[in-house]
């Protein structure tokens, strides 16, 4: 087996890509449902993802082929293609919310003078460009981007921490389980990143303690997001849901900004840079799976279908996006839960090459 990635790159992949798409609109979504218990909602999503990561580490340990091979061994050709088709749809829908929120952010907030849809359109050229690259390139991007994400994140958190009123979180749990779970359910579109790990199975040589490294970096990235949520709520309290783009809002009351101007934009620009890659990941994996299902050798064809499809979808539905959002929040959650969190739990049970051959011999 020729490995395309290093364990280090898998770890850095999570550090680089996990936090960036969750700090635009997601905090206000959580707050809308769970108010001061938003962090508990966030924690529920984190626990779900970590459980899936934990299970997949076992799959990585024993895998002697990639995920496509494991599926084929367990469900046969047709069965694996059906499952993979579901994942194409999963990643496609998973990409909608982060891309649209960024499109809105760019059009509404980032451009002070010329809000224009065409300012965001070139993103699809970059996502297409990433999608035609081999998985090795994704690992190499992570090697660079983890530093950019961390720097941007630390800068924003550092600037905002002085305005935090931690007491705003009290009392815990008064909103009730229903509100907390509704928040978690609505946020499923942003979570389920553990599913990426499934498609990285067999792409790296698993060594002793690698599982621990992957688990802890995932945990670290997840807790960074949780910290951001807590800080965000503690600054804006009950008005947090009105701060749609938390990224630009979180540090605006910092004394540094009052004195020298929007210093926080350095952090925002770094996060925006990293989020170009992060937003492209679901489209990348959708293209990769589509190539596998259809057997298309030229990766640009499936990349064009997926990225072009997303572009057309967003253009067509830009006027009715609140309806799309409503459906994703209320109906797509179960789909995300099954494919992003439940199915990965069963990956250790998938048949490896060795097991398959042993069965044939018997």
């Amino acid at each position: 087996m020729q490995y395309q990635l290093k364990t280090r790159q898998i770890c850095l992949f999570f550090v680089a890509f996990l936090p960036v798409t969750k700090i635009f609109m997601l905090p206000s979504v959580f707050e809308k449902f769970a108010e001061n218990d938003m962090w508990i909602s966030c924690l529920c999503n984190i626990i779900l993802d970590l459980a899936a990561v934990f299970a997949m580490i076992f799959a990585c340990r024993k895998a002697d082929t990639d995920f496509f091979g494991l599926l084929k061994n367990s469900f046969g050709n047709v069965g694996s293609k059906i499952i993979l088709s579901l994942y194409v749809v999963y990643f496609f829908i998973k990409a909608i919310m982060p891309i649209n929120e960024q499109k809105d952010y760019i059009e509404i907030t980032f451009y002070a003078t010329l809000p224009n849809i065409f300012t965001f359109v070139p993103f699809f050229l970059i996502s297409f460009y990433i999608s035609v690259k081999k998985i090795r390139v994704i690992g190499r991007c992570a090697d660079v981007l983890w530093a950019i994400t961390s720097l941007g994140f630390l800068l924003l958190v550092g600037l905002s921490v002085s305005n935090v009123d931690i007491q705003a979180l009290l009392p815990f749990g008064v909103r009730g389980a229903k509100s907390i779970l509704s928040g978690s359910y609505s946020a499923l579109s942003w979570y389920g990143d553990s599913a990426y790990l499934m498609f990285l199975i067999g792409q790296f040589a698993y060594k002793k303690k690698d599982g621990l490294k992957i688990f802890f970096t995932y945990l670290l990235a997840s807790f960074a997001i949780l910290l951001f949520m807590i800080l965000f709520y503690c600054i804006f309290t009950s008005t947090a849901h009105r701060q749609i783009f938390s990224l630009t809002e979180i540090s605006k009351y910092s004394s540094v900004i009052i004195n020298i101007g929007r210093f926080d934009y350095i952090g925002i620009l770094l996060i925006l840079f990293a989020s170009v890659f992060s937003m492209s990941m679901p489209l990348y994996f959708a293209s990769l799976i589509l190539s596998e299902i259809t057997g298309i050798k030229k990766s640009w064809i499936s990349a064009l279908i997926i990225n072009g499809g997303m572009f057309v979808f967003l253009m067509l539905f830009s006027e009715f996006f609140s309806t799309v959002q409503y459906y994703i929040f209320n109906y797509a959650g179960i789909y995300f839960l099954i494919l992003g969190n439940l199915f990965p739990l069963f990956t250790p049970l998938l048949k490896t090459e060795k097991k398959k051959n042993a069965l044939y011999q018997n």
């Binding site: 010329l114 050229l125 190499r140 991007c141 660079v144």
Partner: protein, 480 residues
């Protein structure tokens, strides 16, 4: 065609092909044997020819055969040739050839004498501290400079000739046991496949060695200094010398190489680290600053602090050009001045500085054609790029591209262009070596000579970014 024993026939055949008037056919005698000495008048050392070839020949008496002839010549560079094509090639390369009647072999002597430039400090890599020798246009001199530094039998030179008309000598240099054998083999194959009229400089060969023909990024390294080349081949790289060029090509190439200045290795690690960070920061600043300023001015006024914004507003009042066109225009003026100052005779260089810097700049601002901040940004960007002169051409193109994108699509367009550049850089490989190593793929041990300069005693291993057969560079006493 093989030489015959008939002298007249052989000479007739050679004269048919060597018709130029600077080629001398001198009748000679060795005892009872008639012969002809062939050489190019202006590139052969006639004094040595007389002392080492003609004088010993005149001493031969009576019946003379091949064995007597073989022993008589004193020239240390002596070869036996049997083919007329080989004789012609060697004569044109500065050898003298002696052909005798009844002998079906010719003797050739390396008596070449070219005028060559003295060894001086190369203008592209001047140092305050450290060796000042630089390569020259003569291949033998360059090889001697390397032999002086590496007195090991493992230092190998493999000679090739390329160019249908120029017949340029090329030497592949590497250290056996360190350099990757596959790489040496591949380079030899690539160079021998070059079919071109003439090779006038090593940059011709460099273009054939790159695996991505249309890339704007450099794909092979180069140096003009023997100390730098020694360090590079000791890291596992392979060098290509081209006769007539003082610039030696090295393969594989990493982008980080150009941020490493020769001075870094002769100064303290601390000052070298600071210098490297400054270089990196300068290149980033130079490439992004004009584009970022235009994007902020056109689309993102919130990015500019209020007091600076007021200064900009007052300075751009009445400027007829749009911010992006103004920046583009000023950058173009800078590039024109740059181009002119390189090619202009030195005695008018001062005039260019005064006219360009003071008259054009100062007057353009006071006449209200361009604004003072734009002029300052272009000047800063221009100067910053020269902290890494090797990358100046590449990054000035990228700067223009970014400016175009920022002027059309604003800050987000710029972010996307940067993302595209990063993807391109991390996926770029030449000879299976990633261009962006050791940053991507991240090789922590190689960072010691990457973004910062570690202490020499820490760099016990050769860089992992480059494939080598021997990883250990240094053993410290007492350590296993």
């Amino acid at each position: 065609m093989k030489l015959s024993t008939d002298l007249k026939k052989n000479i007739k055949e050679i004269k048919k092909r060597l018709t130029s008037q600077d080629i001398e056919f001198l009748d000679i005698k060795a005892g009872n044997l008639d012969g002809v000495l062939i050489f190019v008048k202006d590139i052969t050392d006639k004094e040595s020819l007389g002392e080492l070839v003609l004088r010993p020949l005149s001493k031969l008496q009576g019946n003379v055969g091949k064995s007597e002839l073989s022993d008589v010549f004193l020239s240390p560079e002596k070869k036996l040739v049997t083919d007329t094509d080989d004789i012609i090639d060697q004569v044109l390369s500065g050898f003298a050839a002696a052909i005798f009647d009844s002998v079906s072999e010719a003797f050739t002597f390396g008596l070449i004498k070219f005028e060559k430039r003295a060894i001086t400090e190369p203008p592209t890599s001047a140092v305050i501290k450290g060796p000042r020798e630089g390569f020259v246009e003569s291949l033998p001199v360059n090889i001697s400079l390397m032999r002086r530094r590496i007195k090991s039998s493992n230092l190998q030179f493999e000679n090739l000739t390329i160019g249908t008309y120029s017949k340029t000598a090329v030497a592949i240099c590497y250290i056996e046991g360190i350099a990757d054998k596959k790489l040496v083999k591949l380079l030899k194959k690539k160079i021998s496949e070059i079919d071109i009229d003439a090779v006038l400089d090593s940059s011709y060969v460099a273009k054939f060695l790159g695996e991505h023909k249309t890339s704007i990024f450099k794909q092979v390294g180069n140096t003009e200094k023997p100390d730098i080349l020694t360090a590079k081949i000791l890291e596992g790289r392979v060098a290509v010398f081209v006769d007539g060029s003082p610039i030696v090509i090295t393969v594989p190439y990493l982008l980080v190489e150009d941020f490493q200045s020769p001075g870094d290795y002769y100064n303290s690690a601390y000052s070298a680290t600071v210098a490297r960070i400054i270089r990196l920061f300068s290149v980033v600043l130079s490439t992004l600053l004009p584009a970022f300023f235009v994007a902020a001015e056109l689309f993102h006024l919130q990015l500019i602090p209020l007091s600076f914004l007021l200064t900009i507003v007052s300075s751009i009042k009445g400027i007829p050009l749009s911010p992006s066109f103004e920046m583009f225009f000023t950058l173009m003026i800078f590039e024109i001045l740059n181009e002119a100052s390189v090619r202009m005779p030195k005695y008018v260089g001062m005039v260019v500085s005064i006219v360009g810097g003071l008259v054009l700049g100062e007057t353009a601002v006071s006449a209200g054609i361009i604004s003072a901040p734009t002029l300052m940004i272009v000047a800063l960007s221009g100067i910053c790029l020269y902290t890494v002169p090797e990358l100046e051409q590449t990054f000035s193109l990228i700067r223009l591209l970014f400016l175009l994108v920022a002027g059309s699509f604003g800050g987000y367009g710029l972010i996307l262009a940067m993302a595209g550049t990063l993807i391109y850089l991390v996926s770029f490989e030449n000879y299976s070596t990633p261009l962006f190593a050791p940053f991507s793929p991240l090789i922590v041990s190689d960072l010691k000579d990457g973004i910062y300069k570690g202490f020499l005693i820490e760099q016990t291993n050769r860089p992992e970014s480059i494939k080598t057969h021997n990883k250990t560079r240094m053993k410290i006493k007492g350590e296993k």
